[in-house]
Amino acid sequence: GAGVSQSPRYKVAKRGQDVALRCDPISGHVSLFWYQQALGQGPEFLTYFQNEAQLDKSGLPSDRFFAERPEGSVSTLKIQRTQQEDSAVYLCASSLGVSGTAFFGQGTRLTVV
């Protein structure tokens, strides 16, 4: 595609509900990143894939967070049993390699009520 696409753009979840956020990276991009951005803060790294391999998941805040990229293209970030502190914008980015320009999607704004 022309750019990184994320869906949904907005998601309201009741506390305790599971959610799944989707990211379609730029075609051919090997690396895919997930970030969490709280209001007024910079993006916080969550996890990183190179093709289908999850090379770094050190930023995932708890075992309720799970990400996958089974075919090395589309990625899904799943949050189980959502809590209010999970409310944030979740950003996905892709790049040709690890070190280089990352292209970001518009993000998914998650609100947990």
């Binding site: 910079g42 993006p43 916080e44 790294f45 980015a93 690890v98 070190s99 970001f104």
Partner: protein, 112 residues
């Protein structure tokens, strides 16, 4: 965790003035990048400077990098109201080859 720290946190200037934002980081890096984010939107890449470069220009943007001080600056010349946004620096750690780590950003407001 956040690697970079931008300074100042907020900056208000008039159209036509120059805006300078600074970024400090902690570890050795492969490169440093600057991104812009308009309110409620995704991040847009502005410029990348490699660790062996000291200065880079792109249109009205000038970026410097001082690896001895682990710092970078972004200068926007002749600012416009459309430059109003948050600006973030992002680094990747040389050894780990990890993902970009962002600072907390500088919020720039340009009034006409």
């Amino acid at each position: 965790s956040q690697q970079g720290e931008e300074d100042p946190q907020a900056l208000s200037i008039q159209e036509g003035e120059n805006a300078t934002m600074n970024c400090s980081y902690k570890t050795s890096i492969n490169n440093l990048q600057w991104y812009r984010q308009n309110s409620g939107r995704g991040l847009v890449h502005l410029i990348l400077i490699r660790s062996n470069e000291r200065e880079k220009h792109s249109g009205r943007l000038r970026v410097t990098l001082d690896t001895s001080k682990k710092s970078s600056s972004l200068l926007i010349t002749a600012s416009r109201a459309a430059d109003t946004a948050s600006y973030f620096c992002a680094t990747d750690e040389r050894q780990a080859g990890t993902a970009l780590i962002f600072g907390k950003g500088t919020t720039l407001s340009v009034s006409s």
